[in-house]
Symmetry: D3
Subunit: 239 residues, 6 copies
Amino acid sequence: MTRPSQRQPDQLRPVRITRGFTRHAEGSVLVEFGDTRVLCTASVEDSVPGFLRGKGQGWLTAEYGMLPRATHTRSAREAAKGKQSGRTQEIQRLIGRSLRAVVDLGALGERQITIDCDVLQADGGTRTAAITGACVAVRDALNKLLADGTLATDPMTDFVAAVSVGIHQGVPVLDLDYDEDSNCDTDMNVVMTGSGGLIEVQGTAEGTPFSRTELNALLDLADAGIRRLVELQKSALGG
Amino acid sequence: MTRPSQRQPDQLRPVRITRGFTRHAEGSVLVEFGDTRVLCTASVEDSVPGFLRGKGQGWLTAEYGMLPRATHTRSAREAAKGKQSGRTQEIQRLIGRSLRAVVDLGALGERQITIDCDVLQADGGTRTAAITGACVAVRDALNKLLADGTLATDPMTDFVAAVSVGIHQGVPVLDLDYDEDSNCDTDMNVVMTGSGGLIEVQGTAEGTPFSRTELNALLDLADAGIRRLVELQKSALGG
Amino acid sequence: MTRPSQRQPDQLRPVRITRGFTRHAEGSVLVEFGDTRVLCTASVEDSVPGFLRGKGQGWLTAEYGMLPRATHTRSAREAAKGKQSGRTQEIQRLIGRSLRAVVDLGALGERQITIDCDVLQADGGTRTAAITGACVAVRDALNKLLADGTLATDPMTDFVAAVSVGIHQGVPVLDLDYDEDSNCDTDMNVVMTGSGGLIEVQGTAEGTPFSRTELNALLDLADAGIRRLVELQKSALGG
Amino acid sequence: MTRPSQRQPDQLRPVRITRGFTRHAEGSVLVEFGDTRVLCTASVEDSVPGFLRGKGQGWLTAEYGMLPRATHTRSAREAAKGKQSGRTQEIQRLIGRSLRAVVDLGALGERQITIDCDVLQADGGTRTAAITGACVAVRDALNKLLADGTLATDPMTDFVAAVSVGIHQGVPVLDLDYDEDSNCDTDMNVVMTGSGGLIEVQGTAEGTPFSRTELNALLDLADAGIRRLVELQKSALGG
Amino acid sequence: MTRPSQRQPDQLRPVRITRGFTRHAEGSVLVEFGDTRVLCTASVEDSVPGFLRGKGQGWLTAEYGMLPRATHTRSAREAAKGKQSGRTQEIQRLIGRSLRAVVDLGALGERQITIDCDVLQADGGTRTAAITGACVAVRDALNKLLADGTLATDPMTDFVAAVSVGIHQGVPVLDLDYDEDSNCDTDMNVVMTGSGGLIEVQGTAEGTPFSRTELNALLDLADAGIRRLVELQKSALGG
Amino acid sequence: MTRPSQRQPDQLRPVRITRGFTRHAEGSVLVEFGDTRVLCTASVEDSVPGFLRGKGQGWLTAEYGMLPRATHTRSAREAAKGKQSGRTQEIQRLIGRSLRAVVDLGALGERQITIDCDVLQADGGTRTAAITGACVAVRDALNKLLADGTLATDPMTDFVAAVSVGIHQGVPVLDLDYDEDSNCDTDMNVVMTGSGGLIEVQGTAEGTPFSRTELNALLDLADAGIRRLVELQKSALGG
């Protein structure tokens, strides 16, 4: 089997993480997984949603969008349609949950971090790139709060990164691009911490159901890929 | 460890599947997982959405709702708010994908099956009960089309059922009710076919990340639970 | 003239009132008028809408919905369409007005009762069944508040019930089912108290206008029907 | 009892019907019931809604609106809020039904009449003024279609007018203005044809329930009032 | 060149300004530019939007609407469509800015003036008529606040009026009606104060671009037209 | 007077035009006016909106958006709010009109060009940067259609560019950044063709009205600035 992308089954696409991509946000990261490019910003506000007010803890939430021509053919602008699709909402809920898993909301105090992940160019794996980039953006935003004394202790407990895996012509492969994703029988997104704990596993059979053996092979691939992504996050942060 | 529900870790709640619960729909099933009660109807229409017109194949889609007072405290009616929540959309997309995995849309011909899953009473696990009940409702609807000669061959390729599993005080447990769900570290929904293939695996760490070992224990529990649910589906169908 | 339903002109459909149909709501009643089945819940909240805050009185409001496949052919889900139809709003306003007519909002104190009437199966007369069932659900909810000492005096001043009447092939008939409703020249919904006072009279000529004589015959029928419904409410409440 | 308006119990407010109030619409009537002023236009289009296409018959529908400052204090603009209230929808459905009762849709052919009733100034009874004015606007629009030969036979079968009645301090009174309406125990809108047939009767107890005797007194008042309104319609039309 | 309207190039349409057109609003003006008729009301409320609360200054905002049959063919009701068009929003923002330019919001105190401009009949130039009429409505509303002692000093610093100009068959013409507007190469709306200062200049090439020379000729025309409109405003106010 | 930006009154910010910024769109340009960065894509579709179908001509439209954290403080996502603001609609209508002024829609044939202008970072002048960048994106898209033979003749008749000008402390200045814009008395956006014709002039007094003399000085500045921008467009296109 040769992947459409010519990559090895366990090979990530070239990953680039550019910090400080825009200048207003407390954290602003352009993350690229091959041709997939997502701008992830982390914005800090000194207030929390109503349901948390006065409870002495913070909140972290995420929103996701795609520019209309991020895709091969133009897709309708959600702001013009007047609503976000089910897919958009599913992805932004996933990003929020993933980041909350590594941020101690009590230590954050009564402030909110809003992550915006906007896809400038899509070629598969936008949600996993988004989570991987958002982690760095949140890290940058928190570093500012620590540096200026707003926070005394770091609320971030670990790194978090994500990757997609799938079964292409019977072979488990890592980090699907759009062509591969469209031709996979099974598609799985995995989110893990820097220390190797699982945060989210979302596997879907697109045609034939998958077996426990296949699931395990996919998780092995994802595990190795995410470890590599966390190294890249650390390296982008200058560590 | 004792479960809040006093059940054994691998014990399902009492499951009841009542066919023909309402009389207009081609398939109408009330499914109960303990105190969770979901009305699942399957409606057949002789047309398909625009993107499939003229392609000689059918479609199956699902919608999900909760009556406002299905829950402990009243939740706002989505029709009155003017939009479906992200959670609702996520669930109805999951139900649709799960059922499409066992229906051959080509064999269905140019017709659409719409599944409506409406929660009359909620006590945890509404999406897994919905998938389990919807399978029987679709089976009933297709049986009508086969019986009246509309369809010559059965488009349904297998059964499908779903269950939730989670880690409660360190112990993997099956089929979480609301109290257990609120107190679990990890929560996973698993969808499988009657022949044991995996359709969906959606695991989420609510607090601490989970390990591969835990994941495997949860999948073992789910596998056994779903086998039992498929037996109950077959028995409800008189087989 | 024989009614499509074979009933006598002044004969109600079999009416069943099942209390405690679901377990979370303070009042939960399944009401059946023949094949019409409506789940009516009454939810009590310790706050009132903004326009009543601080005025020492309560509020009672109602919402109405139909499950998509309550009807012969599937109707679109209002939550998915993003708005409630004019018909839905008209009905829920009627239910709210009818119940407010027998509840002393001052005696209720600063709390709100929300009635949800959700049609599980429709066969004509859903709004009149809803009012009749909602009365019992509100009664149950208020009994709880009286029993636990939240309320010292009963805010409910009377029973309320409703029925439809119409002119079918020139003959006034009581409690129209869907077939009869579709074939009536005049259609009227009447809401009355247990002591026989009129709360609402809504008569509509569907084709030929109607006369005062016909109006009077219809009101006589409705009067008798509602008296019977109030007996059934009382009997369901164990009185 | 003296009415706040100093009128006799059976006395209408001064009614003015001004035809040709605006120049684009096929029928355009400003109707005034005292200080209540409603602009009613009838627009003819050569197409019908989808559900009637190809059936050789026409349609008539109505929309209703209030200018934000038609009322004592400014009410929010429905176009800005993004939805029409339940009250608005209830009224426009009533206007549509009332006019359809006197128009033979088959004789209209495949065209649609849209009535727009926009309240320029409100002082009670806007819906009854709207129906009364709309009848004249539709008459004018149909006269144009008859005059230019588009229609050979007149689809309008009768006049239609409407008035409100209520019980004020125990006395049945005709044509309530805003002050009277706010102080009535019972409020009823009656729609009748020129030949005295009833089209709609909508009576509501605002406080105490009403009796059959009161209902009859109110209908007597309405009957006389509507006969007078039809005379005024005819006179405005030059007959 | 002869204008479709037979007017001289620098001739306004007959302008009428009727004060007190409706009775509830603090200021209520019907303004007519030929067949264009706009009802402008100014409503005063004793509160300001959230972003100004406690800042000791007022706010003035405007909303704009067209009755569905104000136009040659019926246009859809924005309240029924559930949103205001881009055109509507553009116009109401322009009206608001224009009036705020002549009202000292500090001197207004913590109160809001809402201007509603509703087009009863459209024949071109609705936005310029609206601004011209709104100025008189605001003047009337403020006079009331001054007369009853609510305000001690007049917040209005000048008059404001507006007119459209365009190039019709090469000739600059003043105050375009609908026919002329549809046939102009360049269309410009100009808003000026009573003392001749420019508030807004919005010029658009509809086909061929325009030159600085043409722009100047158009501004000359507008300047003269607006001076005349301010005279008419003053005269309507009895000055 | 020294500008906050230290620039000369007639000095543009550094302008960069990067073609091919993303790879799916037929034209994709990142335009930067100093710290303002807008991604402009031109998408070509082989169909036109309903009102143009079968008329043998094309259409060009534009949509505009801002990423939530393009601004100093995060602004709410329009897709999440469910509607586009009046400002957004005003800007996208302006971009569309400006580009249509230099594209012969007849020569385009029955196809539509959709321009998407998404602001990645905002520092004043986003609409003028958007128009300037969109011109190059449309040029690239049309060049593709010409190169592959889809079009035989070039529908683009000229270049178009835009710039803002304003009066800062009494001095007319070119190309306002955010700080300058917030402190200007008068603010004007000017759109011109490559050959110097005016397409749009939109001038607004933010405080004191402006005079004809000031208007002329502003137009002189804009004229020179736009000539320079057109040179930069041509140079970016390799001419």
